[in-house]
Symmetry: C2
Subunit: 388 residues, 2 copies
């Protein structure tokens, strides 16, 4: 068993206002105006929000407060740097003084990239390569329509550079949304498959640190298990009844807490290997992030659990009430199968002859994540092969 | 079983910066100066902090940043309004522009009362009686030396009016500490009995909502159990080894999270009956707050569990791995006995002939808390008698 090392020093500060509940999207104008913003770029994805009335509700709320709106649609899942650049050009030309994301994690992450990119004198990708610091950002706001990424209450964003096929991240306290509106009722129209992918994503956020941290206090493990168990039971409720508000709300609040800093404050030595590997799958094959994660996780867990079995035994017991690391991993994989998120690369349409290019891309991520010493070519190959 | 009602709407916003870990008290000067404060009232309790060097460390850190210091000592446990008034007079005379608490919850709560009272044109007790609103407050900072009350990351404060023997509270977003330093190593000198009282206090904060909320999502129950289980196991470790930093740190971080808003966001219809009853014990008999709570809790739980047994059965199972409401309550009471915090009024030196005055004071609190309909004279009498 790993020795119980003391908690690491940390500074916890999460200034985001989370306005949670039914009808809260009608308050977004007040929130934006309260932060002194007069003209927002309204970033969104598909035109669905125009058809279902959310776009009009948001615009009306902004108009009531005298906030001008510059709409920018067309942001796709696994959001692209090229789109961020287009939006930045619009934002600069229109001289907006804030960015409002109406959508899920992809729209929000794009909004953060736009917010950091607009005042940056150099190329925005420098901020992702960490060759230039983020020293300013437009204020970011959000109306969330899908719960998964936790971006609504954290300071990070992930974007794919479509020119280089790199899926990299930015992080800065300036990128905490000022206000995020989370109305679980808006999430009732999330399709079943995306609900399952979202569940996989939240579980991935929860367990990366849980398994990899060299300092992982028992308190933090307990909080993590509370989140994972909540995701599991609310997902099952929602697959049976997508209109179940109580489950939708718990699912959303658990998603936020999985990545708002609480689970990581005081831990140390953690890494994000599942995200590192998955980012290659979505960068190369444009698979949904959560679907990629549910493929990677069981494979990574089997490889990694041989190194550190104790925490995997705990996971098996506390989440699935089974004994032993392998039984816990098998139970998670079976659960992914049951809810309808993939667990094999073949289900994502990725064939064995695509492994070499995938391994190569992962190795690039490993260098970016600072994990190249552990995740060698042989290791990455082994993990991916076991997921075929 | 109580029906599973959906989560309530909420606005979550906790702007406090929590600077956690060894040596962090040496950064307090930077934090205070970063908020533009030039002269602080340094509120503290006993002179112990002068002997053990903490006072000098804090003053030196402030001096390095050019922040002037006006010391104000002598704040006692169950802090008194008369002391708050004295401190306010000093703060006004010296024209401080911030209040820094160095101590535990009593010092911090007094600092908040001072911070709200100084700019208030009327009498400070009006703010507690809610007959005047809190519209301004000096910025509050803290260096915590005892973990229990959660005041370091919330917007409330409790003070006893020694003239009227009322123990009442203020609450305002203006009272979130700007920065709280939590160094678990500073808490190694907390005496064993106060450690046990603190454990009881944290458990009380955790379970008031857990048992009373009419909307209590399962996610929130799981988070609460993570906190209670952490308090239980770290308290046992600390009683065996007070220098155990890892346990001290988990205990402290759990204490903060028990009352920083997370456990309550989205719940509804909760109340604080154990605090309501205990406040009378500490107001009338000046017993340590946590010691009063460990007496009240089992008695209250036995009375209340007859009304809502399901959540008590859950508590028994998830915290003590026993079956049935009464077994869980008995296990908690036995645990309080084991760690050395009282479970009977007689242990607090409160005799049967003091019950009538106590009941009367509790009824005053019940009106203040808006709970007079449920907590009638007969009910309060029954609960207190069962705790004799």
């Amino acid at each position: 068993m790993r020795p119980r090392r003391p908690m690491d020093n940390f500074l916890f500060h999460n200034p985001t206002q989370l306005d949670f509940g039914t009808g809260k999207e009608r308050l977004i104008g007040q929130h934006v105006a309260a932060h002194g913003v007069r003209k927002v770029l309204l970033a969104y994805g598909s035109e669905r929000i125009r058809r279902d009335g959310l776009f009009d509700t948001v615009v009306a709320s902004l108009a009531e407060q005298g906030v001008a709106v510059v709409p920018f649609g067309g942001i796709v899942s696994n959001p692209l740097l090229s789109t961020v650049r287009e939006a930045m050009a619009v934002a600069r030309r229109e001289r907006v003084d804030g960015v409002l994301a109406v959508g899920g994690g992809s729209v929000l992450d794009s909004a953060k990239a736009i917010a950091a990119g607009v005042p940056h004198p150099g190329d925005v990708w420098e901020l992702f390569l960490r060759t230039a610091p983020i020293t300013q950002a437009l204020p970011v706001f959000a109306v969330l329509t899908l719960a998964a990424t936790g971006s609504e209450m954290n300071a990070g964003a992930v974007v794919t550079n479509d020119a280089t096929q790199e899926k990299f991240a930015i992080q800065s306290p300036l990128l905490f949304p000022k206000v995020s509106v989370v109305n679980p009722a808006l999430m009732q129209s999330v399709p079943r498959d995306y609900l399952a992918y979202s569940a996989a994503d939240i579980i991935a956020h929860s367990i990366e640190g849980y398994f990899t941290a060299t300092v992982q206090p028992r308190f933090h493990s307990r909080l993590t298990e509370a989140i994972v168990n909540t995701v599991i039971d609310t997902t099952e409720t929602l697959l049976a009844d997508p209109t179940h508000y109580a489950a939708r709300a718990e699912f959303a609040w658990a998603a936020t807490q999985a990545l708002n800093g609480t689970l990581y404050a005081g831990t140390a030595g953690y890494s994000y290997p599942n995200h590192m590997i998955e980012h290659s799958l979505s960068a190369l094959f444009n698979v949904p992030h959560g679907a990629g994660l549910s493929v990677v996780m069981p494979a990574w867990m089997r490889w990694y659990s041989r190194r550190h079995p104790a925490q995997f035994e705990r996971f098996a017991q506390q989440v699935f009430q089974v004994q032993g690391a392998e039984a816990g991993i098998a139970a998670l994989q079976a659960w992914f199968d049951k809810i309808g998120t993939p667990t094999r690369l073949s289900q994502l349409g990725i064939a064995p002859d695509e492994l070499p290019a995938t391994v190569e891309n992962v190795l690039g991520n490993a260098r970016y994540f600072g994990l190249a010493d552990l995740y060698t070519r042989e290791v990455v190959q082994e993990i991916l092969e076991s997921a075929l």
